[in-house]
């Protein structure tokens, strides 16, 4: 066992290099003579010592941390996005500290405070939605490089943003459904979720452009405490029980809503399929990782989470490094891609 060293004072004694020199070594190795660097490195080999992440960064301008806030954890869309952010950040030599809002504006506000107090170099924030306290995002933005991710509040139109082009993606699947079968109804969410709402608007626009009458379902919460899957199952379950919508094409606000919709169909003995006119079809949005394993496998339009995560990290690094000014916000939207499977 190597001797365990806890402080820089102890380290100075153990390897015979002065405390200020060690300090300079950990903050900026280039500022120390090559011979001394070699002596320190050889000394570090002989002991068990981990330099304190923050102590060695206290006098630097940067902590090397990107702070991330995501709205909830139990959602494979966000875990996939977070993974792509982490991989890109690691490649840029950064450490990622993620805080989750757990669907609660108070926790979201605390997450922002935590990132501020940790002096992270920049923040990537996927906001909760309408429930968010907007002043929290504005305060965070006023203090550090800040990029919105995945969804954006109406109140922050002029902020760096990376997400999906919902007009394109929702338009694409709406047009596909109209082209090969009946025009779809849109199974929405209660209007607190920015992305669901953007897709609802995009659906209406495309339907009108194609000369069809839009029809929106499920903007009211049907069950208490229900979220995406529960909502989709409740809205379609109630309709199917009354004999309605059983031969319709249904475009869902996202894949988790569609998973609930598929469940409602199965419970009423209905099999959504790619069949053309007059049969039940169900489609989603996002390409949730489980889509290919559902029965029937879910037809959807994929968000490019890899590109969104990479671009968000690339953008925040540009702002952190001062390569762009934060005053000219850039909005980057990635197109969605059709994933034709069995359900529509």
């Amino acid at each position: 066992m190597k001797p365990r060293i806890k402080t820089m004072e102890e380290l100075s004694v153990a390897i015979g290099v002065s405390r200020p020199t060690l300090s300079r070594f950990f903050q900026d190795p280039g500022s120390v003579k090559t011979k001394t660097v070699e002596r320190i490195q050889a000394g570090l080999e002989r002991v068990e010592y981990v330099p304190n992440f923050f102590a060695t960064r206290l006098n630097r301008k940067t902590t090397g941390i990107i702070g991330v806030i995501i709205p909830y954890l139990n959602d494979l869309f966000f875990t996939k996005l977070l993974q792509s952010v982490e991989v890109a950040a690691f490649e840029a030599g950064m450490t990622v500290i993620t805080q989750c809002s757990h669907s609660d504006p108070a926790i979201e506000a605390r997450a922002a405070e935590t990132l501020m107090s940790m002096n992270v170099d920049g923040a990537l924030v996927a906001p909760l939605g309408d429930q968010s306290d907007q002043s929290v995002h504005l305060r965070l933005k006023s203090r550090m490089p800040f990029v919105l991710l995945d969804s954006r509040p109406k109140s922050m139109p002029n902020v760096d943003f990376v997400g999906s082009n919902h007009t394109q993606s929702t338009g694409l699947i709406t047009e596909y459904l109209c082209r090969v079968g009946d025009p779809p109804a849109f199974l929405a969410m209660p209007r607190v979720n920015f992305n669901a709402l953007e897709r609802e608007v995009a659906y209406i626009a495309r339907m009108e452009k194609l000369g069809f009458e839009p029809e929106i379902l499920g903007t009211e919460a049907v069950r208490e405490n229900g979220y995406f899957e529960e909502h989709g199952e409740a809205v379609l379950g109630d309709a199917f029980a009354q004999g309605r919508l059983t031969d319709r094409s249904i475009l869902c606000a996202n894949d988790r809503v569609a998973i609930g919709a598929l469940r409602a169909a199965a419970q009423h003995g209905l099999s959504p399929s790619r069949g053309t006119k007059g049969g039940l079809r169900i489609a989603g949005h996002d390409d949730y990782p489980l889509c290919p394993f559902l029965t029937p496998a879910l037809t959807t339009v994929a968000q490019n989470t890899d590109a969104i995560g990479e671009e968000a990290v690339s953008r925040i690094m540009q702002i952190i490094r001062g390569e762009v000014s934060g005053d000219e916000p850039e909005i980057t939207l990635f197109d969605g891609e059709l994933k034709l499977r069995e359900s529509a």
Copy 2:
């Protein structure tokens, strides 16, 4: 807009309290006179200042951080467990910093280094599995309060651990399947996953106790790059294509494997159900959040993730506070609970 204060020196000038007094206030408010505390608090109201999380903790014994390492993110079992850890930690007044290993031993090792360098007060670690570099866990354990979560390497039998009692949970569902229908075969995983292996062993023991011949499937990887769902789908898909196993009861190593198994059944026109003798039945383990929404809804045995998360936080806090010595490790296993649905 309040004036923005960046350093404690600036703060001292702005609110007229000396730098050392401010320092004592942020590190231990009780050590400062009540009148001065009031003056500082009134001053802080007038400015925009966030004390640096780590600077104010540099001379304290604790950082107030629990570090967590999870093996991968794209799994709703781990996000549910992490949520329960975060909620319990917040209630204990702690900040949680989670690092994900992304299924890569090198990233797991780096995650451990990050937690050490951040001087977290204790670590909760859900290890990757057989692929992990065991010395990483041992080193982390030698440096700080350490509790293993969810699964444990054979090489670390005497370490604080909180997880599920797989002998009980797997025994319970094995016995249920035997009682109401044919004795099940076990759809395993390649033997690098500790929990899947513990369940395999528990299945064999219970089958033998009940006087039935155990039968293990799928211990070899059938497809490259496939993980849980892909593995379940591939193993059963290949068997069904050869006309094998179509009337069997299949207990899967976990629900994600079972999701793949359900998919293979659907693709071969088979409908697993609760029917008794001589029909296909598929069951899982964990109670993955999507189980009730699958078609058919998945019969499984639930892990008590809430209790596991709470107990892990409670245990690490006891060690951090010195209420128990780390020398008498405690193993806490929670029982599973049957969730009877449609698939078995």
